[in-house]
Amino acid sequence: MSKLDSKIPEGHISQKWTDYKNHLKLVAPNNRPKIDVIVVGTGLAGASAAASLGEMGYNVKAFCFQDSPRRAHSIAAQGGINAAKNYQNDGDSIYRLFYDTIKGGDYRAREANVHRLAEVSGNIIDQCVAQGVPFAREYGGLLDNRSFGGTQVQRTFYAAGQTGQQLLLGAYSALSRQIGLGRVEMFNRHEMLDIVKVDGKARGIIARNLVTGELERHSAHAVIIASGGYGNVYFLSTNAMGSNVTAAWKVHKQGALFANPCFVQIHPTCIPVHGTNQSKLTLMSESLRNSGRIWVPKKKEDAEAIREGRLKPTQIAEDDRDYFLERRYPAFGNLVPRDVASRAAKERCDAGFGIEANDTNEGVYLDFSTEIRNKGKQTAFAQGDHNPSDEKILELGKKWVEEKYGNLFQMYEKITDENPYETPMKIYPAVHYTMGGVWVDYNLQSTIPGCFVAGEANFSDHGANRLGASALMQGLADGYFVLPYTVSDYLADEIRTGKIPTNSAEFDEAESRVKETINKFLNNNGSKSVDHFHKRLGLIIWNKVGMSRSEKGLLEAAQEIAQLKEEFYKDVFVPGSSDELNPELEKAIRVADLIDLGHLMALDALQRKESCGGHFREEYQDAEGETLRDDENFNFVGAWEYQGDDISKEILHKEKLNYEFIKIAARNYK
């Protein structure tokens, strides 16, 4: 299929990237200032790409909808970033990181891309330390590591529970340096609302200045989309309120295929839903599973008593607790991958053992009491006290926990008004990350020449489930260490092109598409707010394209979303005007694209008649309720081609996945 040429280079997996990189075309330094590059989004992928390309000498324009590039949602990542440094001497290697990521993704990711990611992972840590990123250190002054789900080594680097913040501020500092030097022009409070193609190539964007409302034309020789994931299709997710699919979806509408939209990560440890006015869900970092044990009561009557407030979790005896992850998956215990942990929690709650007194009784405990006791005792011994009192143990243990996870415990207490040092946290799975995204080849180029897609916005590295601490790794790998090479290779043929004019028919057309959408919303005069429709969309998708999916549910979802779309365009009310700061208009444009995307997710989940990673089809499970993959028929990337306003007409293309270096096997964490 000509549409999907992954361009994976020949050679042994460990040599592919090195050999390939050595043969890519270059642009000489004197030619780089003649070339313009646009970067949309300033999270880890976007900021690092913009900084790197600016530093190389290209003219870079970077765009973010936030008031500063430092506020992109990468900032909220908590737990850490993986790198195959083997500083802990526990048997880690590039191969193991590669293998863990492929297995964690349930054998639905591309080998070559994932190996490259593992190869450059070490450089990321070197680079960040050189930039002054204050990672956690041991008393000897060297970098500390911890474990994350789906691995049996300690390869996760971290900065308390604010690793994403520190890495993003590192990338932001590199970007700021280039802005200061005049090599990157930064457009804060600007949103990309369409891509412009000239002769089939990406040649620019239409952006809206969110303060003045003005539509602006920006041309370039290449466009990089690093606009993040689409978790907000569920309305309630751990994503920031502004996170959206619009940039990626506009590219899709102009011809870029959209891959594996049904692959969504539901993160097991989030604070449960509390009420109908809730606007978002808050993650409790996976790093907590290093120290916390997940359980529900063994007896249904205990769960019921807890929900009714008659019993406290601390009153349940050890023997009456069901540590269900340790019971089902002894080899990995509480550190199984996210999809596995989430499904196991859902299974217990569906069976009536949930402990949260909300509408759905959905919640399980994440308990730190064992760790507090263990670490308290260890610390006392280390201080020379070999006979510590109970009180002393608890005091020292709490201090140890505070040092590791202080900000997370504080965040939990602020939201729930409960003290997690004294009583276990209540948690439940929530939408967190989207593995699907714009289809890209090995160069991270979409099916539109000159349009590259990086970070969470592309589909490439995590298969059907992403391992913890790998999103930060991928964002920075794409921006610092992949795009500078592959984009240059593409731009090598552009040195004679000259400046792209913005007064062409193609720019006129793209701008009028945007104008039409804006006018439609502002003149619609409907009766319901954008949020009203967004919440309804979220409910349909959460219930039918969420943690558990069935043919019947998916068919219903596709139909309900199509109806919702019709109603949305008929009845949405967007106040204000187009020539001012208008958050409701921004939301309307984003929700319109999320509705279409949601429809496509249902279609994608419907065609994938197997269970893998985060995609669980009720019809395809084994006797123990584990996912049942179908490698015979579904070992492919499903990439969809836009066919116009009716999403049900999209055409599916398949990129077969070849496993040359890893033996494809059932995923086993037992």
């Binding site: 008031d67 070197d126 956690a136 250190r137 700021s176 009420g275 006015n277 610092y480 700061l581």
Partner: protein
């Protein structure tokens, strides 16, 4: 967690745009869950305004978990409201009582002009960062191994505590002089404490302070309100460290 509902009055700063004259408007909002965050309460108010076909209140917000630094409300005369160590998005309505009147205003500072309603322009912070808030290292990935220079844990921890600043601007909003010295001091300190930052320490502090002054932020008179209102607990020590760095650099400047 038994949720309760309260009815409140809101007095909110409304301003059409940067050039318009603003005023306080009064709104009544019923049935607010005490489990809601302050911003969820604002969402509820906006939903009510939209249903009344009025224009909703513009405010900055994004992550809603206290880390992006977008939210920026001055609530009842305090930056980010009555609780300490919180951003507006982490403030919950259980901090208010039934029948309360709540005043909501934007950050007030010459260097943070109002864009609309509660939204202000904080791009001055970006420009200060661009003046020197970085280590000049190219992104080649071919630097030395990350463990080549051991850094004492204490220094690394202090650098991290300074780097935890979210750039929200509460320090400026709460300061009677509208000084940005806690923000700048935190960034200067992060690098001053790490060996990677030492090479450019002199230029960094001089350039960042120059930019800070050009942006129209006031001076520090050691009141300490910034430290009290900082949602991330950034310490005043960072201002002292910046002053030392500045003095060192200024005295040794050629």
């Amino acid at each position: 967690m038994a949720s309760k509902f309260i009815n409140i009055s809101l007095k909110v700063w409304r301003q059409k745009n940067a050039n318009a004259k603003g005023a306080i408007e009064t709104y009544k909002l019923d049935h607010v869950s005490t489990d809601s965050s302050f911003l969820e309460m604002m969402d509820q108010l906006n939903e009510q305004l939209i249903n009344e076909r009025k224009e909703p209140i513009a405010f900055d917000h994004d992550c809603r978990e206290g880390i992006c630094g977008s939210c920026s409300m001055y609530i009842n005369g305090r930056a980010h409201g009555p609780e300490t160590g919180t951003t507006t998005c982490q403030l919950h309505m259980r901090s208010f009582k039934d029948g309360d009147t709540v005043y909501v205003e934007p950050w007030r500072a010459k260097a943070f002009p109002v864009i609309k309603d509660l939204v202000v322009d904080r791009s001055a912070f970006d420009r200060i960062q661009q003046a020197g808030g970085f280590v000049s290292v190219n992104t080649s990935g071919r630097t030395m191994d990350a463990n080549a220079i051991p850094i004492p844990k204490d220094d690394a921890d202090k650098a991290f505590e300074a780097a935890a600043c979210i750039g929200c601007g509460a320090c400026v909003a709460t300061c009677k002089n509208s000084s940005a010295m806690l923000f700048v001091g935190a960034k200067v300190s992060q690098y001053a404490l790490l060996p990677q930052g030492k090479v450019e320490a002199k230029d960094r502090v001089l350039n960042m302070v120059r930019q800070m002054d050009e942006e129209g932020f006031g001076n520090c008179t050691n009141t300490g309100a910034c430290e009290v209102e900082c949602p991330k607990g950034i310490s005043l020590e960072n201002i002292a460290r910046m002053n030392r760095e500045f003095l060192k650099a200024a005295l040794s400047a050629e």
